[in-house]
């Protein structure tokens, strides 16, 4: 009964979406206030019905209702409750339902909180959002109904892929989707602005909180996914340039560009058509990600069950939404009048360079991700593009970006004072060079690129701190006065400082764990000793242990340094009988200085097994935790910026609008 309610609720949500996709936008062009207002009710109705459907599916998972095909295929009665709940979005159908739920949440969010948005803009935006809803709800109902029954019902389910039975996974898709799909509302705003033919600073200000919210979630989602791959999958790395990682990373890169270009639109009424284009492309890349993951277009470790029919349907959706919006862009964008002028050395120019680099980096990742497909289509050759390409192409671009990232915040709008700028940054530059040289002296060895990266990261960190210190006039005025300035500084400004510093910290972690990683793979019988990065590790043997729904081989590794016992690690190799699959549970000693990462694998052949030998993989990854810390800083910075008074929902508008309080034109 409950699954039928869920199914029916989805159909009702589709009906509401259909109404919302026509009525408000028609009202906006005819000036019919009632029609425009209807969007408010339908958007909130939509989120309610989709939430009912989602709850119905979740209920089926919680009570293990094996008459529902989706539950049979992705759950098992013995699975821990947390993973039963998480199983709701573990499959293609369930995750698509989550996708739609988030789409509806953002639509309803604008309907509920967007009281400062003019009625026409709001009506058009919500209609565009409903177009996307119609597309995906019909996709779900027509090709991937999550409530399909199965008869006769089996006694038990097939279990969820054990790799996915982890806390990181339980949180990773919802956050990632929140980011991915959050850009939909920005897209809707952009399309609405194109239909209206008007973009102004106010538009940029309405869009900013939604962009930020989506960006924060996407940042957290990607970081969590990376963390999951590192800790759970036992891959011993945090980024692999896998196509599916790339498709989540591209919207992030472009979304970051969008965040920055929208600032220019907001403060200086410039970069308007560029900002619109970025808004469209960011969501287009999110859609592309959805398409790639669900169509079997590229090989990847991720990928859902593949069905060409679904692929064609999503491609159709993509063609309509991306093709349609870009055609609209081609038609309307040239009519947008350019905004304020600026000099080559100014905040605008800095942000322009930032945007160009980020867009070029996105293009590089896109090209690298799709190159195998394109090459196969053109020549029939099959290749895969791996880390060497991305590292060679992407890292230099990021280093260039970092140079400008450090510089940008020092620049003033319109025209920066070059002499003053040099005066303020020379100290920072010297400090960064000293830091890089010191690293060279202390570490001797490692790739030269790593030292350039250290230079970049140090430059960014010091420049960011210096800029912050200048703002609060640290040591120029009394500490109490500085503290007062800290309080008075807009939160968005603190947010920027924190996020930029976060990038520097993140870089340090990446440099440490790639440039100075050490790895040992040994074939070890009990008593074998391995020495890595100053640790002496003794393998004591492996034993069988029994978990709730798995059996494991657990190795015991005693770690000593200079004869002193440091810790004992227990890496496991788990076997899940129901799902007939195995996972690696690495054991990690984690400190700020680095992670000692150990995993155990089954021996290659039977003869060896009799001798009690196991394959051990031991890694030392210096500074790797800085990656997670840096990511957290990015997220906190984003949240601070989101809580800025200027963006706060319901906060009274300032008397003067930024558009008009800008310096008069020359």
């Amino acid at each position: 009964m409950v699954p039928e309610i869920g199914h029916f609720a989805l159909a009702l949500a589709l009906a509401l979406a259909l109404v919302q996709s026509v009525l408000p936008i028609a009202g906006a062009s005819r000036g019919n206030a009632v029609w425009m207002k209807s969007a408010q009710a339908t958007a909130i109705g939509q989120v309610l019905f989709v939430a009912i459907a989602f709850a119905a599916l979740m209920q089926a998972f919680i009570v293990s209702d094996f008459t529902v095909r989706n539950v049979v295929e992705n759950s098992h009665s013995l699975k821990p409750m947390l993973y039963k709940v998480a199983g709701t979005w573990g499959s293609h159908e369930g995750s698509l339902l989550l996708w739609i739920l988030i789409l509806a949440v953002f639509g309803a969010g604008v309907a509920w909180f967007g009281s400062n948005i003019p009625a026409e803009t709001k009506a058009r935006t919500l209609s565009v959002q409903a177009w996307i809803s119609v597309g995906f709800l019909s996709f779900l109902l027509l090709t991937s109904n999550p409530f399909e029954r199965v008869f006769p019902p089996p006694l038990d389910g097939n279990d969820l892929n054990p790799l996915l039975q982890d806390m990181g996974l339980a949180m990773h898709p919802p956050l990632l989707y929140f980011g991915y799909v959050g850009f939909s509302i920005v897209f809707s705003f952009a399309v609405a602005a194109l239909i209206e033919g008007r973009v102004d600073p106010a538009w940029a200000r309405w869009v900013r909180p939604w962009t930020l919210a989506a960006w924060i979630s996407l940042t957290a989602g990607i970081a969590l996914g990376s963390w999951w791959a590192y800790y759970e999958l036992g891959w011993g790395g945090w980024w692999f340039w896998d196509p599916v990682e790339n498709v989540s990373f591209m919207p992030w890169l472009l979304g970051t560009a969008l965040l920055h270009s929208a600032i220019v639109t907001e403060k200086r009424d410039a970069f308007k058509s560029w900002t619109i284009l970025l808004a469209i492309l960011t969501f287009s890349l999110s859609l592309l990600g959805t398409f790639i993951v669900r169509s079997g277009l590229l090989t990847s470790v991720h990928a859902f069950a593949v069905d060409p029919e679904r692929g064609v349907y999503i491609l159709g959706l993509l063609a309509v939404s991306i093709g349609g919006s870009l055609a609209l862009y081609a038609w309307r964008a040239p009519e947008m009048e350019p905004g304020g002028l600026f000099r080559p050395i100014s905040r605008e120019a800095g942000l322009l360079v930032n945007n160009l680099i980020l867009a070029a980096a996105t293009g590089t990742v896109l090209f690298g991700t799709l190159y195998p497909l394109i090459l196969e289509a053109v020549t029939g050759d099959k290749i895969s593009v791996g880390p060497p390409f991305f590292n060679a192409a992407f890292i230099p671009m990021m280093l260039a970006l970092v140079v400008f990232m450090g510089l940008g915040p020092f620049l003033s709008w319109k025209r920066a004072d070059i002499a003053g700028l040099l005066d303020r940054i020379q100290f920072v530059a010297v400090l960064a060079v000293i830091a890089a040289l010191a690293a060279w002296y202390l570490l001797n060895g490692g790739p030269i690129m790593a030292y350039l990266a250290i230079l970049g990261a140090a430059w960014l960190l010091f420049a960011t701190l210096r800029e912050w210190a200048l703002r609060i006039r640290l040591f120029e005025v009394s500490l109490a006065e500085s503290a007062r300035r800290v309080r008075n500084l807009p939160r968005a400004s603190h947010g920027m400082t924190l996020a930029h510093a976060g990038v520097a910290v993140l870089m340090m972690g990446m440099i440490g764990s790639t440039g100075w990683k050490s790895e040992e793979i040994v074939f070890a019988a009990p008593g074998t000793e391995v020495t890595i990065a100053g640790f002496d590790i003794t393998f004591e043997g492996a034993a069988k242990v029994q978990g709730p729904n798995y059996i494991a081989d657990r190795g015991t590794l005693v770690v000593r340094r200079d004869g002193e016992l440091v810790t004992t690690l227990f890496p496991e190799r788990r076997y899940y009988p129901v799902a007939e699959s195995q996972t690696t549970e690495s054991a990690i000693r984690s400190t700020l200085a680095g992670d000692l990462y150990t995993s155990i694998a089954t021996p290659a052949s039977d003869q060896v097994n009799n001798a009690g030998a196991w394959t051990l993989r031991i890694l030392y990854e210096p500074l790797v935790n800085l990656i997670w810390i840096g990511s957290i800083l990015l997220v906190i910075g984003g949240c601070l910026s989101l809580s800025d008074r200027r963006l706060r929902v319901g906060a009274p508008r300032r008397a003067k609008q930024p558009a008009t309080d800008a310096v008069p034109a020359e």
Binding site: S273, P308, L315, P334, L373
Partner: protein
Amino acid sequence: MKRLIAGLPFIAAVIFGGFFLWGLNPDRDPNEIPSVLISQPAPAFDLDPVPGLETPGLARSDLVGNERPVVVNVFASWCVPCRAEHAVLTRFVERDGMRLFGINYKDKPEDAVKWLNDLGNPYERIGSDLSGRTGIEWGLSGVPETFIVDSDGTVLFRYVGPVVGPDAVERFTQALKQAGALPNGAGS
């Protein structure tokens, strides 16, 4: 000019869309990896016979100088798909006159002997690759794998996975015919 620039993203999207549409072709499998061995000489190897079997061992020289191309099948008794494939290969040998050689991959001799005694032995020669070294030379990605080798020792075709089911048998039959590995008139 401005109009042209504004239209560029649309044009790029259409081009990408074309590639995606092409990529959705259901016959296309992005996981399929072409073998580097195709049109290359088969690797050098010399394997002892499986102890306890009458069948002689297998070396590269046995693949060269035959009248027609021959088939090399990598199998193991522990490999369940091999068991399913065994019947298909036997049929090719008995009905169509295909010449079949085997590499027994990382298998205990006594298991292999029992397996062949149970199911029958369609192989002319079987090399025992206990260490898996020869498997590496052949670029094995898993068991079973089947190769067609020309009389000058060139690898003509590689099939990854069991030759089981109508599609696989059809593909394999086509490959055998193209290579001329079957006596005239066979393989219908």
